[in-house]
């Protein structure tokens, strides 16, 4: 069997607080094959963002192992790209120079010209041609998130970590960005982990959805989404999709510690 690109094995972690240790992850297992796209859903505050920091190597778990491409993660690696709910673009840079930021830090061996060409190409891919020289403050929230997405993949990371990137957008903009994500994945294949609160988003974008239990989080349920690859927004309205959403909702309710009957009442 192929070795998964991201392999998280039985990870446990607790934050140290004034009131003693606060366990956030308790037996989390997750593996993503190369080119796979896994969505992670779970109740609020269950440790989803901790998971992203573990994969990025920004923190080391108390117990368990995180493997990336056959190597144990022991610290930050340049082979990771990240995008957050807050697009955190640098206001003093143009959109183009914002997208080029990772290339200034990761040694790619690319010439300045090639770096710029790549950034321009990615911006055109997400529909931001003509906005290269604008400042972030001149763009709408959706456009900023598109630029943030370009920045996260400009250095061709092995792993793309998306921490609720569309969470703050309105419903229509969000659906636009879902389409963009499929387009980007087609042209610039990546292996990704998507943290989200939106169940529709999870089955629309990912090919596997992992439900985490409430804090401390462990892997509670894994749902495979059939027919990976680009899809149409209409697929969200099929009976098959409705069934998947129902399963996920049911699992979330269990994770929240509520009996389903009680929750639906």
């Amino acid at each position: 069997m192929d070795q998964p690109l991201i392999d998280i094995k039985d990870v446990r972690h607790a934050y140290k607080t004034d009131k003693g240790p606060l366990p956030v992850l308790d037996g989390l297992t997750l593996s993503v094959p190369e080119g796979g796209f896994v969505a992670v859903v779970g109740p609020s505050g269950c440790g989803k963002s901790t998971l992203t920091r573990l994969i990025a190597g920004l923190m080391i778990p108390d117990e368990g192992e995180v493997w990336l491409h056959g190597k144990r993660v022991k610290g930050p690696r340049s082979t990771v790209g990240m995008a957050f709910q807050n697009p955190v673009l640098l206001e003093w840079r143009s959109i183009l120079r914002n997208v080029m930021l990772p290339l200034e830090i990761v040694a790619t061996g690319m010439s300045k010209k090639d770096q710029e060409d790549r950034a321009r190409y990615l911006l055109s891919l997400v529909g931001l041609s003509g906005f290269e020289d604008k400042r972030p403050s001149e763009l709408s929230g959706g456009m900023r998130q598109r630029a943030s997405l370009c920045r996260s993949i400009v250095h061709k990371p092995e792993v793309l970590i998306l921490d609720e990137p569309f969470g703050a957008l309105d419903a229509f903009t969000r659906e636009d960005l879902w389409q963009t994500m499929h387009k980007v994945k087609e042209k610039e294949p990546f292996t990704g982990v998507l943290i989200t609160h939106d169940l529709r988003e999870s089955i629309y974008l990912a090919d596997q959805v992992v439900v985490l239990s409430g804090r401390p989080a462990r892997t509670q349920h894994v749902l495979d989404v059939p027919d990976p690859g680009p899809r149409d927004i209409e697929t969200l309205y099929t009976p098959q999709a409705a069934e998947m959403l129902a399963t996920l909702r049911h699992q979330i309710q269990i994770a929240q510690g509520r009996a389903p009957e009680e929750a639906t009442a």
């Binding site: 990025a56 920004l58 930050p76 990771v80 955190v88 206001e91 003093w92 830090i105 403050s137």
Partner: protein
Amino acid sequence: MNVRSFAIPLIATVIFLLFWELLVWANGWPNYLMASPSDLPAAYERYWNLFLVMGWQTLWRTVVGLLLAVLFGLLLGMVMGFSRTMRDALYPLLVGFNAIPKATVVPIVALLFVGAHDFNTILIAFMISFFPIAVSVSIGLSTLEPEYRDILRSLGASKMTIFWKIALPKTLPEFFGALKVAVTLAFIGTNLMEIVSPHGRGLGALFDSGKTNADYPLMFAVLIALAFLGILLYYIVVALEKIFAGWAERPAG
């Protein structure tokens, strides 16, 4: 620069001078009570050389004091911005130090380093103006959103890279805001020392000699000269801000 942005402040200044002239004339104040704008040209003409020499002394001491304040303020701000422990340790000390009116420190310093005019003056200009810079830089650095740091750290960037690429530029608007306050404060510091220090130099000393001789036109001429220097330095800071932190300005409208 269009005509409007130049004409409006000019007209305002002329109106202000006219009003001042009128006030002195209507009250019939003699010259030894209050000078009027029409007395000033004579005062400038008579002491022009002194104004140039003293004005330069005041200016360079203020600028040196301010530069030291910027350097020290940045350093202190960085230390407090990056380390919580240092912030907790230094903040009360700083606030206490800042609460002491510098006018009370002036005679102490003047006696402590008697005769060292340049050193004394620069020291007071520095002491009075580093506080806002240190506070603004430390606040700017400590309120940096964690995502900024994470994006660069996940790429393996060093602390220095994060500081130069993100933390420093992000703090520049706050820094320049504080610098505008510090410029005026540094001027106050310089002049306090120049006035108090015996056999002092600079515009403050000129003001003091005007006071001794009850030469009101000279005293007011010094005040106007100080205001002029203050405006000059202030707008130099504004120009620097436009160059280095112009991005923070929102388009009008």
